[in-house]
């Protein structure tokens, strides 16, 4: 990590410590989406911001090597397709789109509420990937230092 891209060594070290914790917190928010405030969208935003933290601290080139961007793009499309498949499965089972066809379980348990945790996880992946990829694409635009026309 002795390349010139990115910010100073202090920022890089702090980022290396904090980013796994931020991603863990985002996963917690996603998995407890049906019990506590939060859910797929909020947790996905937290995970995307952790990845963007890496991109700001280490630079875009490092992020390209660290993450498989093609895989992330495929993951985004796959999660949207999975959401649609779950909705159509509910439609086939009881003629209502997105019907909650799994067992509802006990109240206040982690494994409860049927398909809602599954949908939360899918939405979390979708939001995290799309939010990260939007800023990643915008950061790739080449901007020369502007001089007045």
């Amino acid at each position: 990590m002795d390349n010139k891209s990115g910010m100073t060594i202090i920022v890089k070290t702090i980022t290396r410590i904090t980013v796994p914790i931020i991603i863990l917190y985002g996963c917690y928010i996603i998995f407890h989406g049906h019990l506590t405030p939060g859910g797929g969208f909020a947790g996905g935003v937290i995970i995307a911001l952790a990845l963007l933290n890496v991109m700001i601290a280490f630079g875009r080139e490092f992020t390209n090597n660290w993450l498989n961007i093609n895989f992330l793009e495929k993951l985004e499309s796959i999660s949207a397709t999975l959401f649609l498949i779950l909705g159509i499965l509910g439609f086939l089972i009881s003629s209502v789109f997105l019907f909650n066809f799994l067992s509802h379980g006990e109240l206040f348990r982690l494994l409860s509420a049927g398909t809602i945790p599954v949908l939360n996880i899918i939405i979390g992946i979708k939001v995290a990937m799309s939010l990260f990829l939007v800023v990643w694409v915008l950061a790739g635009l080449k901007l020369d230092k502007g001089e007045e026309l």
Binding site: T36, P37, F41, L107, F108, L131, V134, L138, L141, K142, L143, D144, G146, E147, E148, L149
Partner: protein, 112 residues
């Protein structure tokens, strides 16, 4: 009532920024402020005095809850706002690549 008026004032702040500022980045920020004002208005419609958030918790008696429907609407609205902001930023960056400036009074030429 005063809260709704303050919310409308926030919308007017955003409108003022869009109409008077010359920097493209400031215009994008003003558009975001207008979006925040509409989100705040929707959340204020759902508010009931002395009620809690609409989530069941273990060991807590049911109390009057705020209306959860506008909150779900606002979540969608935030996502749409993100999309429009990303589109505006992309257009602003493309304009900067072409004209080397964010000042809209200097972006005059149609081509070249």
């Amino acid at each position: 009532m005063i809260l709704y008026l303050l919310c409308f004032t926030l919308l007017l702040v955003g409108l003022y920024g869009i109409l008077t500022k010359r920097d493209l980045i400031k215009i994008i920020l003003s558009a975001s402020i207008m979006g925040y004002a509409t989100n705040l208005l929707l959340i204020l419609f759902a508010y009931r005095n002395g009620s809690i958030f609409p989530i069941l918790r273990k060991g807590v008696e049911t109390m009057p809850m705020v209306d959860p429907l506008p909150q779900a609407l606002v979540l969608t609205s935030i996502v749409i706002e993100l999309g429009t902001t990303a589109l505006l930023v992309a257009l602003a960056l493309k304009l900067f690549q072409k004209y080397k400036t964010y000042d809209i009074t200097k972006i005059r030429k149609l081509s070249g």
